[in-house]
């Protein structure tokens, strides 16, 4: 469901995808779930990604 997107938008899209798959969606009782430690590990990677997105989103003008 992606189109031709600039790099920053693609990173946002990946971030949003992982966020949805891991944190949203229906949960039923009695299921076998991931351990919290595993999900935290994914988020360490995501924070790095989010930082890179913020950098990419920064406009090129207006350096201090």
């Amino acid at each position: 469901m992606t189109e031709h997107l600039p790099a920053a938008q693609q990173d946002v899209t990946l971030l949003e995808l992982v966020d949805r798959v891991l944190n949203k969606g229906v949960v039923l009782t009695g299921d076998i779930t991931l351990s919290v430690a595993d999900v935290d590990l994914v988020y360490v990677g995501l924070r790095v990604l989010l930082a890179s997105v913020a950098t990419l989103e920064q406009p090129e003008t207006g350096g201090a």
Binding site: R20, N23, G25, V27, L28, D38, E57
Partner: protein
């Protein structure tokens, strides 16, 4: 174990897509809904990139092939069909309501980002004590949050349901999801583009359309 990808209204179409570990996807009618499942030879599923993308790929395909789909959260397994049936039966009223809510809709995501460094508070106006600086930053943020509200409200009007959270970082002003009828996605995007033109200082990153992940949690209240 049985791995759950999504629930759908009966009768669900099963797309020809492979899931985790390249295993096939099957459908089982359980109570009033159909469960899209796979059989994986694992005790537990690690959230690797490959597994997350496989889950997303199946949910995408199931959503494209059916009108009312509730994506399952990643990594949920059941020992057998009876365990899954019991879990579904216990929530059947909520699941029916959630299926009705998402029927015919897709989800669009929006992140509204502020300029990295505020234009004010940085222009070297002499006195610059720490509290002056903090006050300026705080006011700047309030202003930006008001602007984010101005973006969110008109988009929520176009959606059957919407959810939002205020950002986790100073730059991220708004993170929101909108449940939009499939035939209104283009209108939604056009409105978003107008709002972007109205607020050239903000970065509006729209993602999707997604399967309705954010509106599949049965506890999520519409709007």
């Amino acid at each position: 174990m049985l791995y759950l990808y999504a629930l759908s209204e009966h009768p669900a179409a099963v797309p020809p897509v492979l899931g985790l570990d390249d295993t096939p996807v099957a459908v089982e009618r359980l109570d009033a809904v159909d469960a899209l499942i796979g059989v994986v030879e694992r005790e537990r599923v690690e959230p690797s990139e490959a597994a997350i993308l496989a889950h997303a790929r199946v949910v995408d395909a199931v959503t494209a092939a059916n009108d009312a789909v509730l994506p399952a959260r990643f990594g949920r397994g059941y020992s057998d069909l009876d365990a899954l049936r019991t879990a579904i039966t216990a929530r059947s009223a909520e699941l029916d309501a959630a299926l009705a809510r998402v029927r015919g809709c897709l989800e669009l995501g929006l992140r509204v980002m502020a300029p990295r460094n505020g234009t004010r508070g940085r222009d070297g106006s002499g006195s610059g004590s720490g509290s002056d600086y903090m006050r300026a930053r705080l006011e700047e943020r309030r202003q930006a949050e008001r602007v984010a509200d101005e973006v969110h409200a008109p988009l929520a009007e176009l959606a059957r349901a919407a959810s939002r959270s205020v950002g986790a970082t100073p730059e991220l002003l708004l993170s929101a999801a909108y449940l939009v009828p499939r035939n209104a996605v283009e209108d939604f995007r056009a409105r978003l583009a107008e709002l972007g033109d109205d607020h050239p200082d903000l970065t509006l990153a729209c993602t999707g359309p997604w399967p309705p992940y954010s509106f599949a949690t049965t506890e999520a209240a519409p709007r």
